[in-house]
């Protein structure tokens, strides 16, 4: 180790004496930097080298740990949606958006799946999970509205009921016009009105969801138009 250190220092010295502004390279700069580290502590050369290694190793590891290879089905690194390549187009999945209910209406999560390009279908899939004290036995109608627009989905079909920590989860699936989604994301103040066996359940977008809607409008829907 000592021999290696001496050799490195020798290279550094040599590069220092041969230094000229026009022929300076990154290797010379690095050697000079290393020499300065070694010179600052003559009695503890190894300690200096360890400190130097730590100085460079930590940022290097931090950088390396953030580099990832994504599979072809999920090229997008966006936080709120996933992209899938399908024949003659692209399929998008907007991750669950949270809405909070009024009173005892509980909470609601909703996600969207739709396609763009030649393979686009006229209907996007809207899945929703309703978290309540009681099961939502059936849904008669579903209306989504914001300041500027309102849309009604096709009659939601029940996927399943499940017990949750605080009651039940009722999972439903419905359809909404593909073209309506773009318009819907132009406004972030969403409200969902569900009629279940004649009773209205109302939900409104949380602060985090409003932020997600605005981001999706900018990062996704602006590109699709």
């Amino acid at each position: 180790m000592r021999r290696l250190l001496l050799e490195i220092k020798g290279w550094a010295r040599k590069s220092h004496y041969n230094h000229s502004g026009s022929t300076d390279t990154w290797l010379k700069r690095w050697l000079l930097l290393m020499k300065s580290y070694l010179d600052t502590n003559q009695t503890g050369r190894f300690d200096s080298l360890v400190s130097l290694a730590a100085t460079f190793a930590v940022p290097f590891l931090l950088l390396c740990s953030c580099v990832s290879v994504k599979p072809s089905t999920t090229k997008s690194g966006k936080k709120y949606f996933e992209t899938f390549y399908v024949e003659n187009g692209t399929q998008y999945f907007i991750k669950p958006l949270a809405l909070s209910g009024l009173g005892s209406d509980g909470d609601l999560l909703m996600d969207f799946t739709f396609r763009d390009g030649q393979s686009s279908t006229k209907t996007a899939i809207l899945n929703l999970s309703i978290y309540r004290d009681e099961k939502v036995a059936s849904i008669d109608s579903l209306l989504i509205y914001s300041e500027s627009s309102h849309f009604s989905a096709t009659t939601p079909k029940l996927l399943f009921h499940e017990r949750s920590k605080k009651g039940f989860v009722s999972r439903y699936t419905a359809g909404i016009g593909s073209s309506d989604i773009t318009t819907l994301f132009e406004g972030d103040d969403w409200k969902i009105l569900i009629y279940s066996q004649g009773n209205p359940l109302e939900y409104s977008a949380t602060k985090e969801t409003k932020k997600a809607i605005a981001t999706l409008d900018e990062d996704l829907f602006a590109l699709l138009q």
């Binding site: 730590a54 740990s65 690194g77 996933e82 899938f84 399929q91 999945f93 799946t113």
Partner: protein, 94 residues
């Protein structure tokens, strides 16, 4: 000398813990056509080990998406400070 090594090791481990990144990896793909449905299931672990019996299985993701014919399965792993670890299973199909 050993103390110095311990310090450096601690710094490197801390550096690795500080990084908060996401990695998506394919798990499987079947011969079924990529369907119009997507389902996800997610489990979040605290301190990297406490998951409290959450379910991020393929079955749960397929159930959430109303999927009966699975096409592809991906897993997304996210880590924040090494303390908040999330596994998300993404299933596509019909």
């Amino acid at each position: 000398m050993f103390k110095k090594f311990k310090t450096v090791a601690a710094v490197i481990i801390a550096g690795m813990m500080i990084s908060g990144c996401a990695l998506t990896l394919p798990v499987t793909a079947t011969s079924n056509a990529v369907g119009m449905k997507v389902g996800t299931s997610k489990a979040t672990g605290y301190l990297g080990i406490l998951f409290f019996g959450q379910d991020a299985s393929v079955q749960k993701a397929a159930k959430n998406g109303g999927i009966t014919k699975i096409s592809t399965v991906d897993i997304k792993h996210t880590s924040i400070l090494g303390l908040l670890v999330t596994y998300e299973t993404i299933v596509t199909g019909d």
